[in-house]
Symmetry: D2
Subunit: 358 residues, 4 copies
C-alpha cells in the first residue's frame, strides 16, 4: 500500500538491493510527452555509485529498461513501468551477516515488523531503491521542462564544511563539475579533502542538500493537508538517511521577528512580487511565484568499515566488521534523488492545480 507516492501521478516502486532488479511504475503521466531515454540514462549516471574516489566502489551500470507506457517514442498515458536490473549484485557477501542486526540499519525493525527479512544488503530498505526514483524523476523533469520549471539540488554542507546559505550567486552549471556536487568550487575542494579523511578512517559523515526551484507557477499546493512544502517535506524525508527538512529561512531565521521575516509585497512594474523571500516561495502552502528553496539533512551512512558491537537475531553480542562497498557520504548521490522527488511533487501539483476551476 505504501510503496507508492503521489496523487495524480503516482509512482510505485519495487525490488530489493540484491534481488533481480529495482523497478517502478509511474501511473498518471501525461500522454504525448517525447521520452528521451538518453536523458534518463544521464540522470541515472548521476545517481549511480562508483563515480569517484569519494563514493562506493560498487559498480552498477544501472541501465534502465522501459517495459510499458511508451509507444513510438512518446508516452501514451498508460503506466510507464521500468526496471533497473541488478547486474552487480553479490548476495553471497551477505550470508555472513544474515543473522546480525547492523547498527542504525533497518535489519532489526524489518525483522520485528514482518517476521522475515531479505538480509541481502538491506533488501527493500536499501538506498538502491532510489534508482527507481531517479527514473521517475527524469520522466517528470521532461514534462516540467515543457513548462519552464527548473529544479537544482546541490550539496551545501558536508560535516563541518559548508557553503554560504544564499544561493543567489550560485552557478548551477557547476553542480556536476566536482564529484561532491557542490557548485562552490572552493568549498567543494574542502569537502572532498574532508571526505577522503573520513573514508581513510573507515567512517562516514552526513550533511545537507539544498534545492532551488525556479519558475514555479503561482498557485501550486493544496490546503490544508497537502501544502506544497508539507508534500516536499514528505517526499524528502522518504529518502533513505534523511533526518530533517526545512524551507525558506528555516532554522537560520529562528531569531528573526515577524517584522524582519515578513515578505513585503510591492508592485514591480505591474507585477506583484515580494521584496524578500524568507518564505521560500510558498505562502499558506501555495507557491507564490518566487524561488522555492529548501534544505534536506542526511545522516552519515550507517555502514562503516570500523568494527562495531551489536547483537544477532538470537540476542547474542557479536562484533560486526563490514568490508562491503559503501559510501563515506551519501550526499553526492542524494543530490539527483532530491531533484527527482522534487520533480515528482511539482508535476503532480501542477496537474492537480488544473482541477481547481472548471
Amino acid at each position: 500500500m505504501f510503496n507508492s507516492f503521489g496523487n495524480i501521478i503516482r509512482l510505485t516502486t519495487f525490488g530489493e538491493s540484491h534481488g533481480k532488479c529495482i523497478g517502478g511504475v509511474l501511473d498518471g503521466y501525461p500522454s504525448g510527452i517525447v521520452i528521451d531515454e538518453a536523458f534518463i540514462a544521464r540522470e541515472m549516471q548521476r545517481r549511480r555509485p562508483g563515480q569517484s574516489e569519494i563514493t562506493t566502489n560498487r559498480n552498477e551500470k544501472d541501465d534502465v529498461e522501459i517495459l510499458s507506457g511508451v509507444f513510438n517514442g512518446r508516452s501514451t498515458g498508460a503506466p510507464i513501468a521500468y526496471v533497473v536490473w541488478n547486474r552487480d549484485a553479490r548476495p553471497d557477501e551477505y550470508e555472513k551477516v544474515k543473522s546480525v542486526y547492523r547498527p542504525s540499519h533497518a535489519d532489526y525493525t524489518y525483522q520485528l515488523k514482518y517476521g522475515i527479512r531479505d538480509y541481502r544488503g538491506g533488501g527493500r530498505s536499501s538506498a538502491r531503491e532510489t534508482s527507481a526514483r531517479s527514473v521517475a524523476g527524469a520522466l517528470a523533469k521532461m514534462a516540467l521542462k515543457q513548462l519552464g520549471i527548473e529544479i537544482y539540488a546541490f550539496t551545501s554542507q558536508v560535516g563541518p564544511v559548508k557553503m554560504d546559505r544564499d544561493y543567489n550567486g550560485v552557478d548551477f552549471d557547476l553542480i556536476d563539475k566536482t564529484p561532491v556536487r557542490c557548485p562552490d568550487m572552493a568549498v567543494a575542494e574542502r569537502m572532498i579533502e574532508y571526505l577522503k579523511e573520513i573514508k581513510a578512517n573507515g567512517d562516514s559523515i552526513g550533511g545537507t542538500v539544498s534545492c532551488v526551484i525556479k519558475n514555479c507557477p503561482i498557485g501550486l499546493g493544496e490546503p490544508v493537508y497537502m501544502k506544497l512544502h508539507a508534500q516536499l517535506g514528505n517526499a524528502m524525508l522518504s529518502i533513505n538517511a534523511a533526518k530533517a527538512f526545512e524551507y525558506g529561512d528555516g532554522f537560520d531565521g529562528i531569531e528573526l521577528t515577524g517584522s524582519q521575516q515578513n515578505d513585503v509585497f510591492y508592485n514591480n512594474h505591474g507585477y506583484i512580487t515580494t521584496r524578500t523571500n524568507h518564505s521560500g516561495g510558498i505562502q499558506g502552502g501555495i507557491s507564490n511565484g518566487q524561488d522555492i528553496y529548501f534544505r534536506v539533512l542526511f545522516k552519515p551512512s550507517a555502514t562503516i568499515s570500523k568494527s562495531q558491537h551489536t547483537v544477532n537475531d538470537k540476542g547474542e553480542q557479536v562484533d560486526l566488521k563490514v568490508n562491503g562497498r559503501h559510501d563515506p557520504c551519501v550526499l553526492p548521490r542524494a543530490v539527483p534523488v532530491v531533484e527527482a522527488m522534487a520533480s515528482l511533487v511539482l508535476l503532480d501539483f501542477y496537474l492537480l492545480d488544473k482541477t481547481r476551476q472548471l
Copy 2:
C-alpha cells in the same frame, strides 16, 4: 480532496476563521472506545486563545459539539463529526483589509489560485483550522492511552531563548504550568519575559516545539513512502507557520560521524535495545521501541501590529496597520496541535500495522 489526513483513520476538516464554524469528520476511528468529552474540552482549552498575556486576546469558548459517531458514550465505528462554532467571530473587522494582501499571509496565493477568497481573518488558511485537529487529536489520544502510548510536546525554544536539547531530565507534568508551555521553569521564565517585550514592540517571534513519544510499539511505520518520520514530518509541516521538521539528532548531529552517531544494539537482560538513541526511535522508517523525538520549527506570526508596506488587489501600494487580536508567538498554542497531529499519525500506523500479517 486535500482537506483530509491519514490512511486508516482519516481526518477531514472544514470551516473558515470567521465563518459559522470549524469542524471535522474523523473516519475509521475504532469502535467501542469510551469517548470522554471532558477530556476533549480540556485539550481544546489548551489550544484556545485568550489564555494569558502572551497570547491573543481573541476569546473563544471553543465548545465542541459532536454530531455523529458516538452512541451511549462510545464510538460506534461510524464517522465522528464535530463542530466548534465561531461564537466570537467578528468578520466586519476584516472589511477594511478585504482588498489588501497581508505580507506572508496566504491572501495573495489563495486569490491567485482560486480567483476568490474568504478574506475574513484568512478564511480557510487561518490557524483556527487547527481547533478541528485538536478535537481529532483528543480522540486519538483516548485510543492511544489504552495502548499505553504517551505523547508530550513542549516549547523548547522561543527566538534566542532555548532549553537544553536533552529531554531526559524533563518533567512533562510541568509543561502546562506556565503559559509558554516550556517544562524548564527557569527557561520558561526567560521566554515569557522575552515574549512580553516582543508583544510590547507590536512584533512577533518564532521558535521550536519538541515532541517525545514514549512506549511506542516496535514496528510502526511503512516503507518506502510512508515512513513513520516522513508521515510525522508531513503532519507537522501541515500545521500553520511550520517551517522545518527534524527528528533524532537532527541538525545538531551534522558534524557527528557514522561511528559516533550509529546506535549500537545490545542485549539488555533478554531484551534487545540500543545504547544510544541518535536515531530518534526510528530506523528504516519503522519504530524500534526507543523514544521517538522530533522538533518542529515555527516562524513568527505573520500578523503584527507594526505598520507594513504592501499592495492591494488592484496592485496599488498601501500601508497595513492591523489592530486585530493576534499572538506574538504561536508556540504555546502550537504545542497541543503538535501532540494532536502526532497522535493521529501514531494511531493510524498502529492500526495499519495490524494488517501486515494475516
Copy 3:
C-alpha cells in the same frame, strides 16, 4: 476511511438516522461556482419522504444548512460542509426493537462487526444517509450545468410493472409529474395502483431506476481500474437497497451476437459517431460522446408492516411487528439519489480528465 467517495472531488458523509443530523463535506469542488441554495432545496424536496401516499409518512423538512466553503454566494475551493438536521427524529420508538435483529437489515452485521450499534432506525446504515448525497449531487449538478451535461433518472420498473426499455421517446420533463417518478404516464398510473396494493398489504416491492446522461464529453473515464461504468456501478451499488447495475444493453442483450451488438462507426457529416448505442456511450471504460445509460435494481424495503420471525441479540426467537413510518417502495425516492451519485461521478471524471495532458 470509507465514508468517502470520489477522487478529485471527494464526498465524506456522516450522521445517523435518529442522531442529531446527517451531513457531508464535499472537498475538491471547483472554486467560483455560483451556489444556488434554492436549487439544493428543490433537489432535497425530491428525495424527502412524506411526499405522497406511496411513500413513508415520516415528515422531514430536510432543510440544508451550509457550514463552510461558500462565500458571497460562490464556492471558494474550500470544503463545502453541510448538515441536514434531524428535526423529526423519534429515537424512542426504537427502544422496543433495540435488541432485535430486523430481517434483511444491517442490525446483525453491524453488531458483529463493531461490537456496538446505534439501533435507532438503523443508525448509520439507514437510507437517510442519502440526504447527504442529494446535497452533494445538487452541487455537482450546478457545475455540470455549466458544462452542458444533463442527467435524468426515472423509475422504469416497479415489481412486474415496467416501462419500455427504449428511452428515446421519453419526455424527461414528465419525471416529476407523478409521485412514482416514471415519465410514461400510463405506466406510472399502473405502478401507483400496484404500490397502493402493496402498501395496503403491509408489504414492499423493488424495481429499477434507469438513468440517461446526455452531452457527456468524449474521453471521461480512466483505465483500467477506474473505468467510467465501473465507477458508476460502484456509486450505484453503494446506495441502500441496490442489488444490481447494468449499462448499455445489459442483460437484455445477452442473446445478441457480436455482429448484432457492435456499434459501427460512421462519419456523420464530419463528426465520427456510431449508428447504434448498445455500448451505452462507453467503450473501453471511456465515454464516446453518445448517451450514457444504465439501470439500477433496488430490492424491496426490508422494513414491512407484516409480522416477521427473527431473533434478538441473546439469540432468542421473537416476533417483530413494526409500526414505523416506511416506504412500500424506495424507487421514487431513489431516483434523485441515482442522479446525485451519477453527477458526482461525472464531475469527478471531468476534472480528472483535465490532467491527462500537460
Copy 4:
C-alpha cells in the same frame, strides 16, 4: 493513478497487449506467506488462450517471472512485482489496422482521450491485461486458503444456453472439466455446441459468470461507500467486456415482495443464521456469514471475423475484416479472472476489518 486497485493490498498493473510484457505490483501483501509458484502457473494456465477449440488460437505460454517481494519462498511484506513476457506477440499484424477504429473497441476513445494510442491489439485496453490480475489473484487465494475462504466462479450462461440459477447442487470440482467451465455437464455440452456454431459463423457471443464465496467471515465490508457488494461490483465491472453485476437474487427477484425476499433470522443450535439467502450473504454492505454469490454479465467479444463497416482516423469509411486470433466467447477465460478479482477484494476487506477495533 488508476491502474491500481484495492486499499490495504493494492494491485497496480502495467503493460500492453503487444508490448514487451504485462505485469503487476502487488503491494501490502501480508508477510510470511509461502508462495507456491506452481499454483500461480496453474491459475495462469486456466486464463491463457489456446486451450481448446472454443477459445482463441493465440498460444501464449504466460510464464510468470516474479521480480521482487519473495525471499526464500515466502512473502516479505515488500511489494511483489511480476511480469508475464509477451512471447507470442505479433505487433506487425496490426500495422494494417493501425488507423482504423474497430467497432465497440477502445481505439476511438483512447485516441480521443490521449491523442495517441498503442494500436497493437488494443494496447493497454486489451483483455490481455487480465493476466496480471490472475497472478495477483493467485497470490490472494494462497492467503485466503489459510483463512478457509473458498471462491468458485463458473460459466452460468452463454447466449441463450443457461444453467439453473440455484448453485446449491453444483459440484465445483467439475468447473474445469469442460473447456467452457460450466459445472453442469449437460448444459456445458450445449454451450460448447452453441459456441462452435458461433465460431463457425465468425461471430461472438456473451453470457454470465456466476461466483460463489464460501466460508466468508462475518463482518467484511465497509460502510458507506465501500460496501462489500459495491467493491465486488467495481472489481467485476473493471474486467474487460463486463456489462452488468448483480448479487443475491438480483434481477430474478424483481417481482418478489419484501415479505418474500427478507431473510429471516433463526437460532440454529446456538448459532444465529438466516433461513434463506436472498441477500447473497451481504446485509448493509457487510458479510453475514452466509454464502456470497453474484453474477457478472459479459458482452460478446468485439473482435469478430465478419466484415464490418467502420471509419479510420481520417474519418473515411472503410471495411474491416480481421483475421486475428480471437475468442468467440470470453466467458471460459473470464472465469478465473472473476475469481482473481473476488479474491483480491476478499483479502483486502479481511485485512481492513482487522483495523475496526483496537
